[in-house]
């Protein structure tokens, strides 16, 4: 054919033949290249991660060091954005092409375990004495034991405490929050620090997460979900009192409403126009990088009934039974005290799920001065937010959030919205 092409005027038919032959050749070559790569001796451990570009060099450095220690294992990483990851992993699972190790947010722990995306690794974690699984916070590990056995290992677990804008406090000559603060003190301060003329609010408002973050209702004695996550308790006097407290601050103009908040792409708190906000340990790197104001953290204020807040985190699971030994070889180092210290502690990226690694995060250059208050909350009054066991959790939360939106916009009273949360949410759980 080549002779024909070279020797004669090229017809359309000849051209198409040549194109097809070339395309086929390229395809075959590509297959050949792939086979060569897979034919190597070392074991490959694949990972699905969600880190942004700024954190990937830390991951690469850890992996390079790991591969130096284990020349027989090659680490291959695939990155997705955080929201994409939540749909990509089940899709890969359905297609049977899951990576060996997958990032697993706490809300996905139970469903991904139930669907056997993450395999039971209880024997590996508890049988490896050197790994010392007891060093991991119980609240963090419980997230990954939906049926009592370990299905993933947490790397980060943080409580929600009180963040405050020091510049606004200083400008008003108001004393910073401290360990003695109650919810009444928070409200009094929010009123005092609100300055409508300068577009400054005392409190950040109420986000959709408030339906699950215990800090918004446990201080009043409220509990949204039962322990086994089969019963809701949103329509109670305690919940009514709690949500009236937060919504009341919006109604009084002490906190921005949804419409006012829209003016700030990263939210009014990070925009520097509110004096106080709930803050999680995983929020601190972004604040350290982008906040144009001085800020710090304080304990979550005590409520009329008790001191209490929520906590949550993320971890990693192993998906591939056939490659679980190689995957565990990586995981046991990645999530060891040294691994957590290197990856999340010293880098300031997030509060490690290991008690022994926590001090490294508190001492990180980008951690706030009051970072030890996160540790205090974990040790003394934080509980893991619910739901994290029920497979119907996401569907119920969809209902809870839509009712919270109506409550926040003033389209529904707190009592009516809570009643709807209870009725509609419980109907889903019972269905």
């Amino acid at each position: 054919m080549i002779k024909k092409l070279l020797g004669k005027r090229v017809s359309r038919r000849d051209f198409l033949k040549a194109a097809a032959a070339t395309g086929g050749g390229v395809a075959l070559s590509a297959m050949g290249i792939g086979n060569t790569a897979f034919a190597q001796d070392s074991k490959e451990v694949t990972m699905a991660l969600t880190w942004g570009a700024e954190f990937r060099p830390t991951q690469d450095e850890f992996d390079a060091n790991f591969m130096d220690r284990h020349p027989d294992i090659v680490i291959d990483k695939q990155y997705s954005t955080w929201p994409d990851h939540q749909t990509v992993i089940p899709t890969w699972a359905a297609a049977g092409i899951l990576p060996d190790i997958v990032y697993t947010h706490g809300t996905r722990a139970a469903p991904w375990a139930a669907e056997e995306i993450n395999k039971n690794i209880d024997d590996l974690a508890t049988g490896d004495v050197e790994f010392n699984v007891d060093d991991i916070w119980d609240e963090a590990l419980n997230l990954y034991k939906p049926q009592g056995e370990i299905t993933a290992i947490p790397y980060d677990h943080g409580p929600i405490i009180l963040g405050y804008n020091k510049d606004i406090f200083d400008a008003a000559g108001y004393a910073y929050p401290d360990e003695t603060w109650t919810m009444d003190d928070l409200r009094t301060a929010a009123v005092a620090l609100t300055d409508p003329d300068n577009n400054v609010w005392g409190w950040a408002g109420i986000s959709n997460n408030a339906v699950r973050q215990g800090g918004h209702f446990t201080p009043w004695g409220g509990q949204g979900w039962s322990e086994d996550e089969t019963q809701l308790s949103y329509d109670t006097p305690e919940m009514n009192e709690a949500f009236s407290f937060w919504i009341g601050m919006i109604e009084e103009g002490v906190a921005p409403n949804a419409s006012q908040s829209e003016a700030f792409p990263t939210g009014p708190w990070q925009g520097g126009v509110v004096a106080m906000s709930p803050i999680a340990s995983w929020d601190t790197p972004a604040l350290a990088q982008f906040a144009s104001f001085a800020w710090d953290v304080a304990p979550w204020p005590t409520g009329p009934v008790q001191k209490g807040t929520g906590s949550f985190g993320s971890g990693f699971g192993i998906t591939n039974v056939e490659n679980r030994d190689a995957a565990w070889t990586y995981m046991r180092e990645y999530l060891s005290e040294e691994g957590m210290t290197f990856m999340w502690g010293a880098s300031g990226r997030g509060s490690p799920a290991r008690q022994s690694a926590y001090p490294s995060w508190i001492a990180a250059p980008i951690a706030p001065a009051g970072a030890s208050y996160f540790l205090d909350a974990l040790e003394n009054y934080a509980q893991t937010d619910r739901p994290h066991k029920s497979l119907k959790g996401p569907e119920v939360e969809d209902v809870l959030i839509s009712e919270l939106e109506l409550m926040r916009s003033g389209d529904k009273s707190v009592a009516d919205a809570l009643r709807s949360m209870q009725d509609l949410g419980q109907a889903i759980l019972d269905g």
Binding site: Q86, P90, E115, D398
Partner: protein, 301 residues
């Protein structure tokens, strides 16, 4: 036994060779169509008869998902919202597109540049459009409320208000409707001038010429844009996902948002598949209805 007398025409060697090449080339597309279109389509019907979570759990439950749909509060809410969006965006979009097309059909300076400008939103990525409109609709610093403030109107919190969120999405959809404008413009430019001249001789004014000449002549094109507009409205997803997520309080939860939530967030792939097939039935019914009504107002030459 009588053999069929119908014979296949005998192909020459060259024709046979060409036929082989034809199938060879089309096979790539055919495999793609079967794997990526027809296969999932058929599979989704069987999935809709199960309680498949999307990964592992799967049981055959017959038509239970379809029965459940009728008792599903959010199905009806999302359907109502989609009708609201479809009605507003199709009627509003067609009317605005017709006005713009009529203007651009005149011999005005910069006509081609204006055509390009009006068409551009349609070829712009949905996410980019959504982000731009998030800023335009921003109640504090947005262009729309700023414009309203110039005439002493305090604009609402468009996307945070139950009342105004859907009208805001409709306004955006109308703005994005460049394709309709181009189709109607092509139809308008195809109306023979002699019809207008004849109507003028009969004493028809501008409105009468529009009503009795223009509209009947472009009615097939209008019918086409209405049909595709309604189908498009039922497929609305990206801008809603980016701009409102279905809120506030389900005010903009359109059908596809609810379908995707079920399939990918609620671990109800079976139910999501049933919703997809229900969508097909609904769109088919509406299209049939439009064809039935269309016979009364669409005039083919």
């Amino acid at each position: 036994m009588i053999k069929s007398t119908r014979l296949k025409p005998k192909l020459s060697k060259r024709e046979l060779q060409e036929e082989r090449w034809f199938y060879g080339f089309i096979s790539l597309w055919l495999v793609g169509f079967i794997v990526f279109n027809a296969g999932p389509l058929i599979a989704s019907f069987f999935i809709s008869l199960t309680n498949w979570t999307g990964v592992k759990t799967i049981e055959w439950i017959g038509f239970k998902n379809y029965v459940d749909i009728f008792n599903d509060r959010l199905f009806w809410i999302s359907l109502r919202n989609t009708f609201y969006f479809g009605t507003g965006s199709v009627i509003g979009g067609t009317a605005v597109a017709l006005v713009i097309a009529s203007i651009l059909n005149q011999k005005i300076p910069g006509r081609n540049v204006l055509r390009t400008i009006f068409f551009m939103p349609w070829v712009t990525t949905g996410v980019a459009v959504a982000i731009m409109w998030l800023w335009i609709l921003n109640p504090q610093v947005g262009l729309l409320n700023y414009g309203l403030s110039l005439v002493d109107i305090q604009g609402p919190g468009w996307l945070t208000s139950q009342t105004w969120a859907m009208p805001a999405m409709i306004i955006m959809a109308i703005w994005q409707n460049g394709q309709t404008m181009i189709i109607l413009l092509a139809a308008l430019s195809g109306v023979p001038k002699m019809f207008y001249e004849a109507a003028s001789l009969d004493g028809a004014g501008p409105w009468a010429r529009f009503r009795h000449v223009t509209l009947p002549m472009i009615s097939p094109a209008m019918f086409f844009v209405v049909i595709t507009g309604v189908v498009g409205a039922f497929q609305a997803f990206v801008t809603f996902q980016v701009m409102t997520g279905g809120g506030p309080g389900n005010a903009t939860k359109v059908y596809l948002l609810y379908l995707v939530d079920n399939a990918f967030s609620f671990f109800k792939m079976g139910y999501g598949s049933a919703l997809a097939w229900m969508l097909l039935i609904i769109v088919a019914l509406i299209t049939w209805l439009q064809f039935a009504i269309g016979r009364r107002w669409v005039h083919y030459e």
